[in-house]
Every structure is written in C-alpha cells, then in structure tokens.
Amino acid sequence: MIEPAPLPPPVLPSAESRLALAEDLLRTQDPVECAQHALEWLRAAADIRQALVALSDAEGTRLSGTAGLAMPASRVRGFSVALDDREHPLVKTLEAGEARVLTPEASIDRARGALPFGRFPCLAVPLVAEDPSDPDAVGLLLVAPVTPPAGPATRWLAGVLSARLSALARIRRLVDTERRLRRDRGLLHSIINAVPDPITLTDDEGRIVIANARAEFLLASRDDDSEGRRRAVALNNMLFSSALWRRGWEGSEPSRHELPLVDPSDGSAMLFELISAPAGDPDAGAGVVSILRNVTDLRRATEEIEENYRRLRVAEADVRAERDRLDLIIDSVADPILVADPGGTIILMNAPAERLFTIPADAEAEVAQRVRANDAHFSSFVANLYLAVDELRWRGDIGLVDPVTAAPLPVEAVSGKLVSERGELIAIATILHDRTEEMEKARLYAELKRASEQLQQRVHEATSELVRQNELLRRQHIELEQASALKTQFLANMSHEFRTPLNAILGYTSMLLQGVSGSMLPPQRKNLDRVESNARHLLAIINDILDIARIEAGKMPLHPGEFRVPELVKEVVAEVEPLIARSGLTVTTELDPRVGEARSDRQKVKQIVLNLLTNALKFTPVGSVCVSARCVAAGDAVEIAVRDTGIGISPEDQERVFEDFRQADNSPTRQYGGAGLGLAICRRLATMLGGQMTLTSALGQGSTFTLLFPRRARRRS
C-alpha cells in the first residue's frame, strides 16, 4: 500500500462554469454523455489531460469504462475491474469512499492490468450516490496528471457527477422497473387469459377486480351486447356472487362449489366447479381468487357414465337372469353336467352332478370317500382332454358310484372344450349320461336274444317233431281210413250176416202164423207173435246200426227232390196209425198253410219225423202228441216239431239223448225198449240235410223235438 501524494491546494473553477456544467448535466439524460460532458468540463476547468469515468454495472459486480478523456474509445470500453477484487487499489479506493492518488508502480499488479493512464499517477475519486441510504459507489473518476489545482475541481465534479449519475441511475432503475412490471403484468394477463377456465379476483365487496377473457365472456357485458346476452350475464353475476357470498362463511381454505351458469352466447346451461381461495393483498385488503372449471362436459360425461353404468347394471341383470335361467335349465337336465375351468377346478355343476361330486354337510365318511373317488375318476377323465391339445371333444366311460347308495353308476362322459374367440381355453364342459339302464337293456336284450334263440331252437325241434308226428298221423290217418273202411265193410257184412238168419226167422214165423204148416193152438200163436215181435225189434236195431255205419262212412247218399211238407206229415201220421190206435193218445197236426213245397231229401225228412213221432208215442203214457210244420227264417227254413205230454227229459239228459245207444233212462232195467239209436240217427240226418235237431223239455212236462232244415237244399257237387 502506498501513501497517496499530498493534494494540491484547492482551487475551484468559476461559479458560472460550474453552473453551466450543472445545467448541462441536468439537461443530459444519458449517463455516458453526462460523464463525457463532465470530463470535457474538467479538462477545460482544471487542466486535466487525461480522465476516465468507470461506472458500476447494474448488478454491482464490475466497474467498466464509461467515458474517457484523451483516450481511444476501445481503451475506455476495455477498462474493467471486478468489484470483488478487494486488493485492487481502485476497489480499495471505492470502498474507502474518498479520493486517492494512485501510482502505477506501487499499486498495480501486473496481472490485474495497468491503470488507464499508463505510468502516470492518477487521482481516483469515488463517485458515490447522493443518497446516504444508497452506500454503494456508482463509479470512479480517474484523472491525471495529479496537479494541485485539479483537486478541488475534480472533487466538486465528482460530487456533481455522482449526484447526477445516481439520479440518472435511479431514474433508469424506475423506468426499468416500470417496464418490467408492465411486461410482467402483460405476461400475467396473457397467462391468465390463456387459461381456458374463467378466473376472477374479487374484492371484499364481491366486485370483480381481475377477470380473464373467459370470465369476462361469462360475467361482463357491454352496452352494445344483445339483450339476451346481457340478461345471461346478469344472471351469471347473480349466481356467481351468491356462490361467493356463501363461500365467504367458510374461512380461508380453498373451497369447491358447483356453479350452474348460462352460456351467454346460446343460452345453454353450463355447469362449473367454483374453486375459490382467499388471496391476501396487503394494500388492497383481502380478496378472493376464483377459478371456474367447466364441468358441463364432465357432468355430461358423468351422466353418460351413470347411464352406461345403469345400462351395464340392466345388462348385468339380464345376464344374471339369463344365467339363472341357464342354471334352471342345467339343473333340470337329468344328466349330470359339470364345467371346469382351465385349472381343473369345477366352477359349475347342476343338481344331479352335485349329488355325485359334492360332499353333503352331514355326510358320513363313506359317502365323502365315494365322492372323492368319483372326483378322482372325473379328474383323470378330463385330464385326457387337457392333454389332447388338438381334440375339442373327448368321450369315454367312467365307472362312478352313487355316493349315498354305493350302487355302481356306469356313465358315458362327453367333455367339450369351451374356447374363446382368440382360441384360448375357457372351460371344459362335461355331460355324464347314466348308462345303467342302457346296460340293463343291453343285458336284457342279450338275454332276450338268447331266449329267442333257444325258442327258435325249440320251435325248430318242435317243428321237426311236428313233421315227424304229421307223418305219423298221416300214416295213422291212412291206417285209420283203411280201418274205417274195413269197419264199414265189416258192419255191412255183419248186417248181411245178421239179416240172413233173421230172414229165416221172420219168414218161418210168418209162415207159421199164416198156417202154412198147419193151424196152431192159441197159446202157440201168442208165443210165436212174441218171437216175431222180437225178431222185428232186432231187425230195427240192425237197420239203425247200419244207418249209422253208412252215415259215418259217408255212404248215405242224399237224394234231394221237391215234395210237399204237409203231405209228408200226414203220410207219417198215417203210417203209425196202428201205433196210435194202440197207444190211445190223441195225435193232432198243425200245418201252416204257407208251408208248401220244399226241396230236400224226402226220405230222410220222413225218417226223422217218423222216428220223432214213434218216440213221442212210446214215451207218452197219457195225453196227446202234436206234429206241427211251419215256415221260419222268413220262409227260408222249415220247422217240423213233435210235441208230446210225456214224461219229459231232465235238462242234464237233454244233450245225452242224442248220443248213440242212449236213452234218458240208461239203467239196465229201463222201462222203454229200443236201442236208443233213433235220435242219434235223426241228428246225423238233420246235419246231412243242412239243418239241426233241437229239444225243449222239462221232467214231467213233456218234450218238444224240433227239426229245422233249409227249405231249398243246396245241390251237392
């Protein structure tokens, strides 16, 4: 540090000169120009040859050359000293706040650069602010040479210059501040306006202090606006104020309210969310910043979401109903149905499946075990499908067990993969079909088949047996026919053989009775009558037997012919007249006049009627016999009935009397004679005629034998 050289005696320039400078400086607004003017004055007034004004920059970090005297401009602008270089003699001078004379040799470090005036010493005078509250020096005035007269003028100038420069700096600062403020305010405004949400600042009274464009659109109107818009704005203001007023009670925390407004341009309803917070302003007092967020779309979106949600719920309800229905359907299927997810877990099953695959709460250990066994069988079956990647279906038989009854339950299982549109396996559905019945049916069918085969075998055997029997029968039939023919021949021969001696008996008896061999005593004649009577009876029996034999052998020919029925009846009655006379009975005839001609075998009809009438006479001790003839069946048939008042025939005997060798009384001691062949022959003859014999009788009430035969017999081929 060097002691500055002693200052020359103070000599001040003239007052006029100083006044002129002051006026000049006051007129000059630019600091550089000011400094330049000052330096010019200093040269003139104090004989300063070289000078430099270095001013501190706005940030106060550097001292830069501002104006120079007798110095090239580049050197002026190139002069620069960092203010934080505390060891620099200029900085020291500035800090000291008083003028000093500096010598380059002693004071300037080479590294820091030389003083502006080369090797000459210079006087450095700080230019400090006039206002003591602004302690920072505004700059430094360097002058050379250091002459005594220069001192006072330089110091005065420094004072004047610093005052003016500080004033200028202050002015410049103010201007800068104002410009910055204006720019900031404009920026702020554009920022606020750029916000799409309306933003307002309101004062205590609720009046709008600041509003961005969006807010103005909603809340401000001009006189030339349309009536509708003005009304909408007025309504909006009212709503907004009311919302703010309500907000006023709620303290300093930001609050949110819904605020319905009207779009002034088209009158449509808008919904805003009003976010307001108190904004402290020390000068203007408390205000409220409000941001209105348009939530109309949000609300619409919300409503849409709600609507969608509602639809979703309806759809869900539908789906649930559908699922319930599906569940019902699935449950109603008698076959067990199971659905397993890709992990193999059963996610759905119907009631029949539950019976097989779920363990009831109160199940016994055996039941649970059977269910687990079923489950294992099922799992291993479904595993087939999991392993078979390319297969969509799998079919197979599983031997399950009814968990409760332990009855074996063979089922046919059909599993199918449920695959999503993207081909992912969603689930595997399985239907089990009870095959018990089927297998039972198959078993029954097999049994049936076996039985059928057996039956067939038996039928076959029976058929061959039948064929054998048939052959046997055929032979027997031939033999029988031969036997029958032989029998008939035998009977015919027998008949002949009977007749031959009987012929002699009857002949000789007749001759004796006629007295051919001389007259006889009455007792002899009586006995001979007995012989004849018995011989005739024997002949009748033989004739009857022969008739039966002929009919049986089919050798009784029919000789159909036309004849009159009444005449036939009369003829029969006449023929048995001796018998009638002997019996003492009354015999009458009832002949329907409509019965006239008939075509049949007259001889056989007569034989039947004759037989019936003789029978009636024989079995009627007292009373009457009636022979009647009439047409029946619309004239197609003839009925000849013989009615008596005889002993009658009991119901149990009524059929037997038509049998061969029968009488109602078949005891050996029977009262009435006859071989009992008459009715048997009558019935056979009636059948030959295409008719029939019937009997109505009651014991002791008489009998009625009826012959019914077709009036027009068919011709036999």
């Binding site: 015919a492 008949s495 002949h496 053989e497 007749r499 031959t500 001696p501 009987l502 012929n503 002699a504 009857l506 002949g507 000789y508 007749s510 001759m511 006629q514 051919v516 002949l539 004739n543 022969l546 002929r550 050798k555 009784m556 020919p557």
Partner: protein
C-alpha cells in the same frame, strides 16, 4: 190152387239152405212150381235146361256170384228173356244199382217175408203175361 202143369216155374237160387227151402215151401204152398239152385253154376245149368218163367237170384253166391250169373243169363239169347228178381241181404247203396246194370228186373232186400217175395214175383209175372197190347196190335 192153380194147375201144377200150367203154373209158372220159379228157379230159386240161394246158397243158404234154410232161406231157400223156406221160400220154396211158401211159393209151392202158394201154387208155384219151384226149382232150387245153391250156386251160380247150378243156377246157369238149371236156367238153361228148365227154362223157368222167373229166377229169384240171391246175389251173394259162392263161385259165380249172382251178378255174374245174371249177366251170363242176360247175355244168352236162350235165357235172356227170363226175368230175374235179385235178392240180397246187403242194404248198402250201390247193390241195387249194380244189380240193375247186371240185368236184374227187380230187387228185393232181405229180410224179406215170404209173402212179400211172392207179391213181387206175381207182379213181375203178371207184367210178363200181359205184354202191352198196343205193341202187339201194331
């Protein structure tokens, strides 16, 4: 009683002696002349030699039976005019028809009482004795 010499001669053919003799006795008793034959050969012989007015022929004969005998008689111009009354114990149908085909003029079924046979013989003889006058006149 008719004159023996002029009364008709009946040849009675039957192998059963009792019947034959019974009929013979009754016919003689009734005034007819009777010759008897016990079989077919005898019947043919006697019919040729005796030239009876009528022959009663039992059909069941040993050797040449009644049908055959009748056929031969009817085939012989010397005997064919003699009426033959067939007599049989067989009552079956076909016998009488066979007898008519063989040439019998009448058919009588046993048992036949002597007087019935006599009636039949007389009926035939009367018909023979009185040929239809119309034919004769022309």
């Amino acid at each position: 009683m008719t004159d023996r010499a002029t009364s008709p001669l009946v040849l009675l053919v039957d192998d059963f002696q009792d019947n034959r003799e019974m009929y013979a006795e009754f016919l003689r008793f009734s005034g007819l002349r009777v010759e008897e034959a016990a079989n077919g050969h005898e019947a043919l012989d006697k019919a040729t030699t005796l030239a009876p007015d009528l022959i009663v022929m039992d059909l069941s004969l040993p050797g040449i039976d009644g049908w055959e005998a009748t056929r031969r008689l009817k085939a012989d111009r010397h005997t064919k005019h003699i009426p033959v009354v067939a007599l049989t114990g067989h009552a079956l149908a076909g016998f009488s028809e066979g007898a008519r085909q063989a040439g019998c003029d009448a058919f009588v079924t046993k048992p036949c009482l002597p007087e019935e046979l006599l009636n039949e013989i007389q009926r035939i003889l009367v018909r023979r004795a009185r040929p239809r006058p119309a034919k004769k006149i022309r």
